[in-house]
């Protein structure tokens, strides 16, 4: 796959309703548990994620952000509603098909990095490719490492890296296979403010230079401020859908939602 890591978008999503929609959620609900103790984490969420956009998802704790992410990323299934990724409806896919879809279209950045402790930084980054039995294009791989600032840390183990460096590894790992969309759930949640800022810059840069569609859950207003679109969830529904917004706008919106 020589198109990897190139700043052009892949094109197979074009056929599916609207040229630029790469992830679509329709009337998603998710209920955990049964009977009296049942929790409705999502109560009908519909959204389209545009190609090449950085979408931030915000909302109070327990509002269903993570749940929504998991469902859009095919980690979890909705109780009702449909998800379409890169033109493929997830509804009827079996495990093998979902695995294939994940390899091609989805990248992940976790709050707790989830690096494999026995592999070096470089090997961790390459993992999605080696799982798929592919090899990186050397120049582009070098460029990626450079971009995330890991060139001089490539042979280190996760235990020898700082939290910020570990998250850089995780981001590079999400980008390496040039997925259709990268999902990140509170990627800065486990980092201090300065390091978090650097990571956010990196995320933004990947959107700018690779056109990498990205969806990110965050609690930080300044994170939302670098996004192309900010979604606010409250009680399992989308409460507000802003375009580009300033930190101030975001804080105001948050306050309004929380006080409702």
């Amino acid at each position: 796959m020589d198109t990897r890591l190139e700043p052009t978008a892949s094109s197979n999503a074009a056929s599916n309703g609207g040229s630029d929609v790469v992830v679509r959620g329709h009337e998603l609900t998710r209920r955990f548990g049964e009977g009296d103790t049942a929790v409705d984490a999502l109560r009908g969420v519909s959204l389209d994620v545009q190609r090449g956009q950085l979408t931030a998802v915000m909302g109070p704790s327990g509002s269903g952000k993570s749940t929504l992410m998991h469902i859009l990323a095919a980690l979890d299934r909705p109780t009702s509603g449909h998800v379409t990724i890169a033109g493929t409806p997830l509804g009827k896919l079996n495990d093998t098909e979902v695995t294939k879809l994940r390899r091609e279209h989805i990248g992940f950045v976790f709050q707790f990095f989830n690096l494999l402790p026995m592999l070096t930084a470089e090997e961790n980054v390459l993992l999605p490719l080696s799982i798929a039995g592919e090899k990186p294009e050397p120049d582009q791989f070098e460029e990626l490492l450079q971009k995330v600032g890991l060139t001089d840390r490539r042979k280190h183990r996760p235990s020898e890296l700082s939290g910020g460096q570990q998250q850089r590894v995780a981001i590079a790992r999400a980008l390496v296979s040039r997925p259709t969309v990268v999902f990140a759930d509170e990627p800065t949640g486990n980092l201090d403010s300065k390091t978090g800022g650097e990571i956010l810059e990196l995320m933004r840069e990947s959107v700018d230079s690779y056109g990498q569609t990205t969806m990110m859950v965050t609690h930080e207003a300044r994170a939302a401020a670098i996004a192309d679109r900010v979604l606010f969830l409250a009680d399992g529904v989308i409460a507000r859908d802003l375009g580009r917004a300033s930190t101030h706008d975001v804080i105001t919106a948050m306050d309004e939602i929380t006080s409702q």
Binding site: K100, F110, N114, L127, P128
Partner: protein, 855 residues
């Protein structure tokens, strides 16, 4: 993905090694057994092949092909004239006769005791004039040329410090005599004959000393040039009467190798069984360890899934881990087996079962079997955990504290367990109580049944862990304080894990318990059988207690002053009513002073009416053959003589240990029918106490050192001791599987400690001392081990009861040796303590700060 699995394993080297050890021991046992038995086999083959290397044909008497309880009966000797007939055959280049005796000839040590090591004691009469026929090689000195000279084997010479020129006493069928040691010899190409000894006489001397006047056991023949061995055999067969058997040297060597091969095969399978048991236990340990590792790696596996790894890849990575562990363990086991082979040989030696050896034989077959078995067992044990690993959903990567989802079949396990136990019951019932199935099928059904039983109980045991832990955790709670209470709690956290760990030990404990209970019953049965049959004050047997010995000892005993009545019991195997049976020859008028018949039909009065053709038969034999009192049957001796006999009475000796054969006839008839007139027992009735009379009787039979004089209780004690020795060997062999289960406990504890690093840090932070941490781990270990014992002890008793029941026809008693079982429980505690040492140290050493920060 492959590299991820390998790197992961490399990152857990210590744990991987601990896991591997579980299989190493089993594989080592298998490779050790193969190496040892191959070595023994080669030694025997060398002996036979070398023995007949220069021999084109062998002439011997036709043997009736009798074998009783695995021992084939030696062919009777040939008349010496046959040698002259052979020499007259034109195609014969050279021919010499030889005399061969496998039990009566014994070398005496410096204390005057016969050297007997549970192995044959050969006596040869060899014609050393034609070197090519001589199976032996001189290491020192020369061959005997007079009736005062002998050559002995180099092993005995070395052990006893005999050298050429020394005087050596040798027991034969004549009174013991001194000989001049003129040479020391050995079979070519063999390092040690094991426990076997030999003495070489010249032919006339051997004939005189071994009751073979005018007779030879075999004639070795070499062909004149240009005659092939097959032609020679044909020529000889044409010239000789058809009472002799003629074979080529090669055939003769093969025939003898085959006989011994049967015995080596038996040892091989006997030992392999213990290797298989150890592997089975090892499989439990592997299964458990991999299950725990998979559970602990839930998050890692889920992350791999989110990165696009398929279920197959996850399955593959866990199986690859098992493969590497299995391969590593098998290679280590294979080579440890070489060391173990020497260890096993030493074990046999300690039990005075020495086997001939030569340089260790390490065959390709050993390598392949050890590797394949080790790897396959490990992979099979890894299959279930690997399948479970594939059920880790990707979403576990983002869930804090995600655990392995319960297996889809989890709720069916109790039913599967019940089914397994039912299957085990069916198999055991079938194998033990159905009559007409072959031995192989029976053993296989028992083995599979017991296996299924163990697996079934293991599957069931998670349900039993809570009550059991509460019971066996009582001492921990009492003496362990807070640490003890936590320990019990910890053992209950993951019942499946505790159960699998305990199950591994359960198997070992169940098997030693089985051996102990069955052994106790067998010992009692043995004792009762002897006590109910023997009336004599003193009993003479051969040194080993079971081979027949020189008849002269009986006459010698009569000369002892306190001896009131001396009566002898001859024994030999013959074909009776179509099958091989032991036949006893008695003095009808004296036998009741030494032996008590338990009459089924008839009475002591019948003895006086036996005449020459009367016979007493054992009830089970009579039933078998459908013989009734008054009916006739034919007896055919190994020498070919026949006797027509009539059933005069039916006796019912204890089926477990009948001292007389299936058929008992008057000595007179015995002596006129059988070539070999040797005694199995001589019963002596004395004036005064047996203990006081014993020295006088011993002195009287001093000329026959092979005859051992003992009181009734001494005899029973000796049998007890020998039996105990055999049981000890079983314990040593079963210890292997107990050791494997120790590693299982160590593994589980190490993994649990690793998993609870944070928790241990917290406990230390709130004031738990290192000592308390160690105590906590130790008690958890002891509780696990005691659960193993609590499951294993009853299981073992149950199996023993089952077998006792199944062997009902032998009337074996059932007895639970409580003290011994208590000792096993203590052993379980020790196992727990030993297994805890390393994990406890690791837990206590944890740095509090690091432990708390650990993610």
């Amino acid at each position: 993905m492959i590299s991820v699995a390998l790197r992961g394993l490399a990152g857990r080297k210590f744990r991987a090694l601990l896991t591997a050890i579980a299989i190493v021991l089993g594989v080592a046992m298998i490779s050790g057994t193969l190496v040892l038995t191959d070595t023994i086999d080669r030694a025997f083959t060398r002996i036979f092949v070398d023995s007949y290397a220069g021999t084109d044909a062998v002439v011997s008497a036709k043997s009736p092909d009798l074998s009783f309880e695995g021992e084939s009966v030696a062919a009777p000797p040939l008349p010496e004239e046959v040698l002259d007939q052979v020499r007259k055959v034109p195609s014969v280049g050279a021919a010499v006769g030889s005399v061969f005796e496998d039990s009566a000839v014994k070398i005496l040590d410096s204390k005057g005791e016969p050297i007997v090591k549970n192995a044959p004691t050969f006596g040869f009469g060899l014609d050393s004039s034609v070197a090519r026929f001589n199976p032996l090689e001189l290491e020192d000195g020369r061959w005997p040329t007079s009736d005062r000279e002998v050559v002995i084997d180099s092993g005995t010479a070395e052990d006893e410090g005999f050298g050429v020129g020394d005087r050596v006493s040798v027991a034969t069928l004549q009174p013991v005599r001194d000989f001049q040691l003129v040479g020391i010899a050995q079979y070519g190409g063999v390092e040690s004959l094991g426990g076997a000894t030999f003495v070489v006489f010249d032919i006339p001397t051997a004939q005189k000393l071994l009751d073979r006047e005018g007779k030879l056991d075999a004639i070795s023949v070499a062909a004149r040039d240009a005659t092939s061995p097959d032609e020679l055999v044909r020529d000889l067969e044409g010239a000789l009467s058809d009472t002799v058997k003629v074979q080529t040297g090669v055939e003769q060597a093969e025939e003898q190798s085959e006989e011994v091969g049967f015995f080596v095969t038996f040892i091989r399978y006997f030992l392999l069984t213990f290797g298989a048991i150890a592997l089975f236990v090892g499989a439990f340990v592997i299964f458990n360890t991999l299950s725990i590792t998979v559970a602990q790696r839930t998050r890692e596996l889920a992350t791999l899934r989110t990165l696009g790894a398929s279920r197959r890849q996850v399955l593959g990575s866990v199986l690859l881990e098992a493969l590497v562990i299995g391969a590593l363990a098998s290679v280590i086991g294979l080579f440890s087996g070489l060391a173990l082979a020497s260890g096993l040989n030493a074990l046999f030696k300690a039990l005075e079962i020495e086997l001939p050896t030569t340089g260790l034989v390490f065959s390709l077959r050993t390598v392949i079997v050890a590797l394949v078995v080790g790897i396959v067992v490990t992979m099979l044990a890894g299959l279930a955990p690997a399948l479970r690993a594939t059920r880790v959903p990707p979403i576990s990567a983002v869930r804090e504290g995600a655990t392995l989802p319960a297996s889809r079949f989890a709720r069916y396990w109790p039913y599967v367990a019940a089914l397994m136990i039912a299957l085990a019951g069916a198999l055991l019932g079938f194998s033990l109580f159905v009559d007409d199935i072959g031995t192989t099928e029976r053993l296989l059904a028992i083995a599979v049944g017991v296996l299924a039983l163990f697996v079934g109980v293991a599957l069931m045991s998670p349900k039993l862990i809570r009550p059991l832990a509460t019971i066996v955790g009582w001492p921990a709670r009492r003496i362990g304080g807070a640490a003890g209470r936590l320990a019990q709690g910890n053992s209950l956290r993951n019942p499946g894990r505790t159960a699998a760990t305990a199950a591994a030990l359960m198997i070992g404990i169940a098997l030693v318990t089985f051996v102990a209970v069955l052994g106790a019953g067998l010992r009692d049965s043995n004792r009762d059988a002897i006590e109910s049959q023997i009336r004599a004050d003193l009993i003479l047997t051969s040194e080993d207690g079971y081979t027949e010995f020189v008849a002269g000892a009986s006459d010698a005993a009569k000369t002892a002053a306190p001896a009131r009545v001396v009566t002898e019991v001859r024994e030999e195997t013959a074909r009776v009513a179509g099958s091989a049976q032991n036949v006893s020859g008695i003095d009808p008028d004296l036998i009741t002073t030494g032996y008590a018949f338990d009459w089924k039909e008839g009475s002591d009065a019948v003895l006086a009416q036996l005449g020459t053709d009367g016979a007493i038969v054992a009830e089970n034999f009579a039933d078998d053959k459908g013989l009734l009192v008054g009916e006739s049957f034919t007896l055919e001796a190994p020498g070919g003589k026949r006797a027509e006999l009539t059933v005069k009475a039916i006796a019912d000796p204890p089926p477990f240990y009948p001292l007389l054969g299936a058929v008992t006839i008057p000595k007179q008839t015995f002596d006129s029918t059988f070539e070999r007139k040797r005694n199995r027992f001589v019963f002596v009735d004395v004036n005064g106490s047996p203990e006081a009379a014993k020295p006088a009787v011993e002195a009287a039979v001093r000329k026959y050192p092979d005859a051992r004089v003992q009181t009734r209780s001494e005899w029973i004690d000796k049998e007890d001791r020998e039996f105990q020795q055999f049981l000890s060997m079983l314990y040593v062999l079963l210890a292997l599987s107990v050791i494997v289960s120790i590693f299982g406990i160590i593994n589980t504890l190490v993994l649990s400690v690793f998993e609870r690093t944070r928790e241990v840090g917290m406990l230390r932070a709130v004031g738990m001392t290192r000592r308390q941490v160690r105590r906590m781990i130790r008690h958890e270990s002891i509780i696990t081990a005691l659960i193993g014992a609590a499951l294993g002890l009853p299981l073992g008793v149950f199996l023993a009861a089952l077998i006792t029941q199944a062997l009902g026809q032998f009337e074996i008693q059932f007895k639970v040796p409580t003290t011994q079982l208590l000792i096993f429980a203590v052993v379980a505690i020790v196992v727990g303590i030993v297994a805890a040492i390393l994990p406890a140290r690791r837990a206590a050493r944890l740095n509090v700060l690091n432990a708390l920060q650990y993610e």
